[in-house]
């Protein structure tokens, strides 16, 4: 590439735009439906209900240990499809570039997206690029939309993953450690390096979730990727929706030592830190062991754990502490404002 930075002309639809699409996007996004360069991707209709989602990615910094905004843009949307019980199939990608963004950085991001998409088994089938003036963006924003097809075992009897099947005694599982992504981003933004480095868990979960569903056909009652607000906020939301209580055990929570340590330094709670490669699963009690085994058999689920259970109640989430009490967990607040008087 001749230009080192993104210019306003990269977005005017002229020669530079053409060059960017040809030499960068099409080079990495090697998917037939995209390469056809039609105004819209023309795709065969899948057998089953469609799942459709969209998400925008504005993470700072753009690059962080364990991934970058591109990995996140693909994994985030793929995971939203997967936890809805769908097999992710197609993605679109919209890029908002800030004038002055280094083209090598853009190339790194696009390469990550292509690689993550291949890992997840999805095709990027449509895209768009706009350029905004210097100072009007944070380098790069990405929007992705995703289309998946709902897996047959969920479609068959009208069984759904919206939480309506959750009952007392159900087990709450997490596919791995808490807070890796959130802490990594916070540390990057503060410019802090810990003794033991931490890295984002950012990863597409489609194959892990497919493995889980294969092994526990019809027994998974609910799944969600605990991103913003972390495990605590995600559980609080489903507890309120179902008007049941969820009791989790502090000692059962898988947290990497480096994350626990770093979170303590920054005054953060891993329960409220974002995850980008984890899934929370609620299954019937009799399916607990099989579900756990299925998760642990997958490379992305080796540290999966049963962290609690559903009980009767009124929509509270409790954290059972080693001292014997049950601390009430609420949604994430903006800042952890001091309360002790």
């Amino acid at each position: 590439m001749k230009q080192e930075q993104v210019l306003l002309a990269h977005g005017d639809g002229g020669q530079l735009t053409h060059q960017l699409v040809q030499e960068l996007f099409l080079r990495y996004f090697n998917f037939p439906a995209l390469q056809a360069l039609t105004d819209a991707a023309l795709l065969p209709p899948p057998a089953g209900r469609l799942a459709v989602t969209t998400d925008s990615f504005v993470v700072q910094p753009l690059f962080f240990p364990g991934g970058d905004i591109g990995t996140l843009a693909v994994a985030g949307t793929v995971n939203d499809l997967a936890v809805s019980g769908a097999k992710p199939m197609y993605l679109t990608a919209g890029f908002i570039l800030e004038e002055g963004l280094l083209l090598v950085d853009l190339e790194r991001v696009v390469a990550s997206m292509a690689e993550t998409a291949r890992d997840a088994g999805v095709a990027i089938v449509a895209g768009d690029t706009k350029v905004v003036e210097r100072g009007r963006g944070d380098g790069l924003y990405i929007n992705t939309a995703g289309i998946g097809v709902v897996l047959p075992d969920l479609d068959g009897e009208g069984a759904s993953l919206d939480g309506s099947r959750i009952g007392e005694g159900d087990a709450v599982l997490i596919s791995g450690t808490l807070g890796d992504h959130g802490l990594t981003i916070m540390a990057q933004r503060a410019g802090i390096a810990f003794d033991t480095p931490v890295q984002s868990d950012c990863a597409p979960l489609s194959s892990l979730i497919a493995a889980l569903q294969e092994n526990c056909l019809g027994q998974v009652k609910w799944m969600r990727d605990p991103t913003r607000g972390g495990v605590a906020t995600t559980l609080k939301e489903i507890a309120e929706v179902t008007a049941k209580d969820i009791v989790i055990d502090e000692q059962a929570l898988p947290v990497r030592d480096a994350v626990a340590d770093g979170a303590a330094i920054l005054g953060l709670d891993p329960l409220y830190l974002a995850n980008e490669g984890k899934v929370l699963v609620i299954v019937a009690p009799e399916a607990r062991d099989a579900a756990l085994a299925a998760l642990q058999a997958h490379p992305l689920g080796r540290e999966a754990a049963c962290i609690g259970h559903v009980s009767g109640g009124s929509g509270q989430v409790y954290l059972k502490t080693p001292l014997g009490g049950h601390r009430i967990l609420n949604r994430l607040m903006g800042e952890s404002l001091p309360r002790i008087c």
Binding site: V247, A264, L323, G324, I340
Partner: protein, 843 residues
């Protein structure tokens, strides 16, 4: 000439011997008629000579029983009915307005004497009581206060007790909880496994001391006590007649328990309002074991002393303090330790004081009487609340075994069910004035009259619930022009605490016959207790934290004018979103305006920094002195170098570092600088230890000690700037660092720091007062539990001709917050006030 009157007496008139008093009075004056407890109070009809009836009405008030508190007497003429005798009628339930339930009362001298008399039938009966003493609030299920509505309802009176109950001349005439070894509740001792340790003690072979066996708690172990089962189903062990007598007396359990305590065991002892955890107060090993098992490394433990003589061996005792200890309330009184007290260092570390109470129930009396015979050296027992760290007090037998099974080796239980759990009250005499640290047993549920807006009919005014603060929580029910504060709830941040709050709320609503239509909550967005308040689905009034602190003091003094308030505490969510704990307000129960405040500093980690004084110090030094301040912090705390680097980076990046302007944090920071306390293991530890370290003591030992505040002030201050309505403490930090480098002793620096705070407050209070034409100050917020600071500020303001209002009926800390919330809500609801966000405006 004859006349008749129907008389209604309201106030604390039930359970205090009021009806027998009325009976005797009527008999002496040869009046006919009757007296009865009703849900509204005591009702009577008296008929007789005009002069006698008038004398009756006068003496009714003048000679009312010592424990009664009459709020109102209504007397109306009624037609003569020709009553020839005077009767006590059984209680009439129903009616809309409740009579006051009396607080629990310590054993009276007559009962103490009787139970120590080997000839008396209640010799060493651990649950004896009479009209003048015993449990009240803690056993009441419903009003009116009458045996069938208490947890004593399942114990049928034996003929002897019946005779006493029916005899107007007897001390137990209509004493609702009366009992004896034959018919009353029983006491027994078990191991942590719940197995009865009975007979003569030889059955007990195993030494549970070395065993840490615990009963594991299920996920859903009940948080409460026996109440759900109903007190009629109490789990007394089955024993044959003789054994039952033995166990009820002290023959079987007391010597065994004393022996085990002497050997260092920890016992859970069911008292009046809940379980205590007890051990030998002179054994540092036993105390260390209790601390380790209870996860309470440093917070001072209270003791129960055998008698005043035992107290005097370890503490200074003034007349005022002695009177408190011996009063029917029998609170824990914080006393000055004697320098040569020779007590274990781990009893009350970091302080020069000791919280002491005397045996206040007959069960305690049996314990100490047995100890006196058998182990004369066992004159102090640690008696701390029987709860797990952060959880409510245990009060049911089964719950205690389940929750305290891995803390206590032995469980002394009885089957008089506690219906309403209540902790011991904690008080201190500061500058000659009774000061509350915790207001509970002996005081709750006595009502506090509050000022009512003009034109408002207090009786008809709908009730208000104020949910209080996040920690040290109590809530308030306001109705009929007075407020009842709940016992200490603690925190609602756990399922157990929340359930405790809600069940206490339910019970008090019933006992007081109040149905709130408004809920007052703190504005803090992170307070779980405010969320609980909103969940009550009543119209919400948000009250700013420090306005509530201010209004609490105004309310208890019945003061409705404008004052200058110096509110110093840890954290109050300001109406502007800043966390505040050091502000000068001008205001009243109607509203307030902020006049001055401590310059805020960013606190890295927010809430999580509060327990880390070293981090708070670093934040302060960094804010005051920039890079150099951080360098000093890193030099002071090399062990926290990584944390400090992280904290500094977070502040620079503006991440999770909310602005905090707090007196509590300033005390934390100074305590860390002086090397007194680096980590808080309990709320307020650094501030407590800093306050206790001051070289001179003021206003203690009943107010007798060190009244020389002028001499104390002459020890000097550190420089502080005041600009743009903010106190700026950067000069203070420079000066303290210099003094420290010069090798000044921490005690002197601590004193100068206190002097500085006092100077800051006094100067600006007077400045504000001059500008506003006000000469009345309110000192409120937890920092004012610091005796030195309080005496210093109060005395200086008094010397300038100011009136100084301090919390006298409630703690200065968040334990008193709910009263202020309730009163602000009452005045705001009337449109009499402005919203708290709106300034009062200048005249």
């Amino acid at each position: 000439m004859k006349t008749a009157r129907r008389v209604m007496v309201k106030g604390v008139v039930q359970g205090v011997g009021f009806r027998p008093f009325v009976y005797r009075l009527a008999a002496e004056l040869r009046l006919g008629g009757w007296v009865a407890n009703t849900a509204r109070g005591v009702e009577a009809v008296v008929e007789g000579d005009v002069a006698a009836v008038e004398a009756f009405l006068r003496l009714l008030v003048d000679e009312a029983p010592a424990l009664s508190r009459i709020s109102e007497v209504q007397a109306e003429h009624v037609p003569l009915q020709g009553w020839s005798s005077f009767q006590i009628r059984t209680s009439k339930p129903s009616a809309d307005v409740a009579a006051s339930i009396p607080p629990d009362m310590a054993m009276c001298p007559a009962c103490r004497q009787e139970m120590n008399d080997p000839e008396a039938r209640r010799y060493r009966y651990p649950l004896t009581n009479c009209t003048n003493c015993g449990p009240r609030y803690s056993i009441v299920e419903r009003v009116p206060y009458d045996r069938p509505f208490t947890s004593m309802r399942s114990f049928a009176l034996c003929p002897d007790c019946r005779r006493e109950y029916d005899d107007p001349g007897d001390r137990r005439f209509h004493a609702q909880p009366l009992a004896c070894p034959v018919c009353g509740p029983q006491v027994w001792l078990t191991g942590a496994d719940g197995m009865l340790l009975g007979g003569d003690g030889t059955l007990l072979q195993s030494d549970a001391l070395t065993s840490d066996d615990c009963i594991s708690m299920g996920d859903d172990a009940p948080a409460g006590g026996d109440v759900s089962n109903g007190p009629a189903l109490i789990d007394a062990p089955v024993m044959a007649g003789d054994a039952q007598q033995d166990s009820a007396r002290s023959e079987s359990w007391a010597p065994l328990l004393i022996r085990r305590l002497q050997a260092g065991a920890i016992a859970a002892i069911k008292g009046v309002g809940g379980f205590h955890l007890a051990c030998d107060g002179r054994s540092s090993e036993a105390i260390a074991r209790l601390r380790q098992r209870k996860h309470r490394p440093a917070k001072a433990l209270a003791v129960m002393a055998r008698d005043l003589e035992a107290v005097r061996k370890v503490c200074k005792l003034s007349v005022a303090e002695e009177v408190l200890l011996l009063s029917p309330v029998a609170p824990i009184v914080i006393l000055e330790r004697l320098p040569d007290a020779n007590l274990p260092a781990n009893l009350a570390p970091g302080t020069k004081t000791l919280g002491v109470m005397l045996p206040y129930s007959p069960l305690h009396e049996v314990l100490f009487a047995t100890a006196a015979e058998q182990a004369p050296d066992l004159d102090l027992l640690v008696m701390t609340s029987g709860n797990r760290a952060g959880l409510p007090l245990c009060y049911g037998n089964e719950a205690a075994l389940a929750e305290l099974g891995d803390i206590a080796d032995l469980f002394l239980q009885h089957n008089r069910a506690i219906v309403n759990p209540i902790d011991d009250s904690v008080v201190r005499v500061i500058d000659g004035q009774l000061t509350f640290y915790r207001r509970a047993r002996g005081y709750v549920p006595a009502a506090i009259p509050v000022p009512v807006p003009p034109g408002v009919d207090a009786v008809k005014e709908p009730a208000i619930i104020a949910v209080g603060g996040e920690w040290k929580n109590t809530f308030a029910l306001l109705g009929r022009g007075e407020a009842v504060l709940s016992p200490h709830i603690g925190t609602v941040e756990t399922r157990e605490g929340r359930a405790h709050f809600l069940s206490t709320y339910q019970r008090l609503q019933e006992l007081l016959a109040l149905t709130p239509v408004t809920v007052a909550v703190d504005r803090h967005p992170g307070y779980q207790v405010s969320a609980l308040g909103r969940d009550l689905h009543l119209p919400v009034v948000e009250v700013q934290h420090h306005h509530a602190h201010l209004a609490a003091v105004l309310a208890e003094h019945g003061y409705t004018g404008e004052v200058i308030g110096a509110i110093l505490d840890g954290t109050g969510y300001g109406e502007d979103g800043v966390i505040r704990g050091f502000e000068l307000l001008r205001g009243s129960v109607r509203g307030f305006e902020r006049l001055a405040w401590l310059e805020p500093v960013p606190l890295p980690g927010g809430d999580s920094a509060v327990g880390r004084p070293w981090l708070v110090l670093a934040a302060h030094l960094g804010a005051a002195l920039g890079e150099q301040g951080w360098a000093v912090a890193k030099e002071l705390f090399p062990q926290f170098a990584r944390h400090l680097a992280g904290a500094q980076a977070m502040i620079q990046a503006g991440l999770n570092a909310p602005l905090v302007s707090s007196a509590g944090r300033l005390f934390d920071a100074v305590a860390a600088l002086l090397g007194l306390c680096l980590e808080n293991t309990y709320d307020g530890q650094a501030a407590v230890e800093l306050g206790e370290s001051v070289a001179m003591r003021l206003g203690l030992n009943g107010g007798l000690e060190g009244h020389d505040w002028a001499r104390a002030a002459a020890m000097g201050t550190y420089p502080v700037a005041f600009a743009q309505r903010q106190w700026q403490v950067a000069p203070l930090w420079s000066a303290m660092l210099q003094e420290r480098d010069r090798g000044e002793v921490p005690e002197v620096m601590a004193q100068r720091f206190h002097n500085t705070i006092a100077h800051m407050v006094v100067t600006q209070v007077m400045q504000a007062g001059r500008a506003a034409g006000i000469q009345t100050a309110v000192l409120s917020g937890g920092v004012w539990q610091n005796p030195y600071l309080t005496v210093m500020v109060r005395r200086q303001l008094l010397a300038q001709g100011w009136q100084v209002l301090l919390p006298r009926l409630l703690p200065a800390n968040d334990g008193g917050l709910a009263l202020g919330q309730a009163v602000v809500a009452l005045w705001q609801r009337q449109g009499a006030g402005r919203t708290s966000a709106e300034p009062v405006g200048k005249r």
